[in-house]
């Protein structure tokens, strides 16, 4: 037994002596342990980049120890800014660098996250459809909404160009300037009447919208239109018209317009000076005329419109009450709402339906634009 113990002990001693000696460590002494590198900026953290090889300091001072030198383009994550210095986190640690040496130094404001979000602006409701202030040649009892701009331009087979520009004023009035081709002249009673164009007029209308005063009340508008003096063929002419018109919707797809006009017109030339208000030549009844129109929408966005109005006709070589006449004008056509802000219109206009002259018929095409842009700009300013 003692012999086995001695052998085991000898074996253990031999094993102890047989262990190879640890190799002599010849490597240089280990550098002091460096702090564990900070994790690289995460994709959610704001990232800037060094725009030069900039030193990263331990403190926000050039006198402090340099941690290491940032390489050009090295990503850093700024999380604090003090004066000209940014406290950043890099893949190799944290430190301070002059803010001018990094791009987009926008550290997250810890308070910004907790700031309550601004309430979203309420969405603007869609603009309502504009009720047109004009049928074809006659006005309606509807006014343009405040600050809404209206523009209509057309041509016809008589070679005339018409234009009408208006703006709504405070939902109770509107102002406009237009060029007409409805005013006609004859050199004598047998000559074919021809349009005087362009004939420029200015219009002011004011009134009350439908159902504003009481239920079932039609739209009511008082309007005045006056022309600039027009010289042609050694004659000067002027016109003015005072209108009062009522308009009423009949259900959702039809409307009717009815009104009266008080006209004045003047013709001056060599040996001629006559006006409708001259009651030695004309009667008051020669100045008064009814007018009206209807509109029907059989299909969505397509309306059929018919109206009957009046227009002055001057006769240079005529005498007495034949020098100025008001002639009835019948128009019919279709308005097609291509877009909410644009309508294409076309139809037929007979300048003197009383003469029943088919050759007088003109075909016209026009485009109408309406815009709420000015109204929106004014509302936004408020």
């Amino acid at each position: 037994m003692k012999k086995w113990i001695a052998i085991v002990l000898a074996g253990a001693a031999t094993h102890a002596h047989a262990q190879p000696a640890a190799p002599e460590d010849t490597s240089p002494p280990e550098a002091p342990a460096t702090p564990a590198p900070a994790p690289a900026p995460t994709p959610q953290e704001p990232v800037a980049h060094a725009n030069v090889n900039a030193p990263l300091y331990a403190d926000a001072s050039r006198d402090s120890k340099i941690v290491y030198v940032l390489s050009l383009g090295e990503p850093v994550s700024p999380f604090e800014i003090v004066g000209d210095w940014s406290h950043v986190k890099t893949a190799k640690g944290t430190g301070w660098v002059l803010t001018k040496f990094i791009t987009d130094p926008a550290p997250k404001d810890p308070y910004e996250e907790h700031k309550p979000a601004a309430p979203p602006k309420p969405a603007r409701p869609p603009d309502p459809r504009v009720a047109m202030p004009q049928v074809w040649t006659t006005p309606t009892g509807w006014l343009l909404p405040a600050a809404v701009l209206y523009s209509r331009t057309g041509v016809d087979t008589g070679g005339a160009v018409q234009s009408d520009q208006r703006v709504g004023l405070g939902d109770v009035a509107e102002f406009g300037v237009s060029t007409l081709d409805q005013v006609r002249r004859q050199t004598d009673a047998m000559a074919v009447p021809k349009a005087i164009q362009p004939y420029i007029t200015a219009t002011f209308r004011m009134g009350v919208g439908e159902d504003r005063l009481f239920a079932g009340q039609p739209g009511l508008v008082l309007g005045f239109r006056k022309s600039f003096e027009r010289s042609l063929e050694d004659h000067q002419t002027r016109i003015a018209e005072l209108t009062f018109v009522a308009s009423k919707h009949l259900g959702k797809r039809a409307a009717i317009h009815f009104g009266g006009a008080f006209w004045d017109a003047e013709l001056q030339g060599t040996g001629t000076d006559v006006a409708l208000h001259d009651h030695t030549v004309f009667a008051v009844g020669d100045q008064l005329r009814p007018f009206g129109g209807i509109q029907v929408e059989p299909i969505d966005h397509a309306e059929i419109l018919v109206d009957l109005g009046w227009a002055p006709q001057f006769c240079y070589a005529c005498t007495g009450a034949d020098q100025i006449k008001l002639r009835p004008e019948l128009s019919w056509g279709v308005r097609y709402q291509v877009a909410d802000w644009m309508a294409l219109e076309s139809g037929v206009r007979v300048p003197d339906i009383g003469a029943a002259n088919l050759l007088d018929a003109q075909i016209f095409g026009q485009v109408t634009f309406t815009t709420w842009a000015l109204r929106h700009a004014v509302d936004d300013l408020k």
Binding site: T157, I299, A302, Y336, V338, S346, N357, L358, L359, I363
Partner: protein, 225 residues
């Protein structure tokens, strides 16, 4: 059709275009636009319809036509399509020749036959004379054999403007009967090719042969949805 209008209107926002040539060098070009499916405005230039006599030569005219109406069965079940149209020239202030036509025409499909019929009031004149107004019927028929759905046989009759001069001075204007017949082949849903023969009353023995290409496309709408 070739001479007589029909009561068929283009669809909403539809654009029509046509070009026609005949063996005498006559031509006609037109473009139309559909207003909401209930109206159409068409602009055309042609020298194949109106004539200036004597001797008779083609008279080139630029015209605009406004048509509006109701489609088949819109008014009541079984109602034909109805269209009221007016055609006017817009170069009369240059040429001094006036020709305006107003018409009311109805169209009805019956099996594979389409019938067109109506009445037209035509007024012709020139600056130095009173207008001449005539009221005349117009009509046409189309036959699409069921075995050949892309092929249509057509025939129509109408009156065309005619101006007459005497010793270089304008004296009379009237309308002259014309008759045309031929075939239309619908090459594509949007394109058709037509071939026809036209007879004018004053030259019935010397007919004209004409070919026409007609296209129709939709343009949609800009309206907010």
């Amino acid at each position: 059709m070739w001479l007589a209008p029909t009561a068929e209107l283009p669809e909403e926002g539809g654009v029509l275009g046509s070009v026609m040539l005949d063996r005498h060098g006559g031509f006609a070009m037109g473009a139309g636009y559909g207003f909401g499916g209930i109206a159409e405005l068409e602009l055309a230039i042609a020298n194949s319809d109106a004539r200036l006599c004597d001797p008779c030569t083609p008279l080139e005219r630029s015209t605009a036509t406004f048509r509006f109406g109701a489609r088949e069965d819109d008014l009541f079940e079984g109602a034909p399509a109805l269209v009221l149209g007016v055609e006017a020239g817009f170069d009369a202030h240059v040429t001094g020749l006036h020709a305006t036509e107003a018409y009311l025409v109805a169209t009805r499909h019956v099996a594979f036959v389409t019938l067109h019929g109506g009445v037209a009031a035509s007024a012709t004149g020139h600056d130095n004379s009173a207008a001449t107004t005539l009221v005349r019927p117009l009509g046409g028929v189309e036959l699409t054999p069921p075995k050949f759905p892309k092929t249509t046989l057509l025939a129509d009759v109408s009156w065309q403007p005619k101006f007459a001069t005497t010793a270089g001075a304008m004296t009379t204007s009237t309308s002259e009967l014309a008759f045309a017949w031929g075939v239309r082949y619908q090459t594509f849903p949007w394109l058709a090719v037509e071939l026809a023969v036209r007879h004018d009353a004053s030259a019935f023995g010397d007919p004209d042969v004409l070919v026409r290409v007609t296209g129709q496309w939709g343009t949609g709408t800009l309206r907010a949805r």
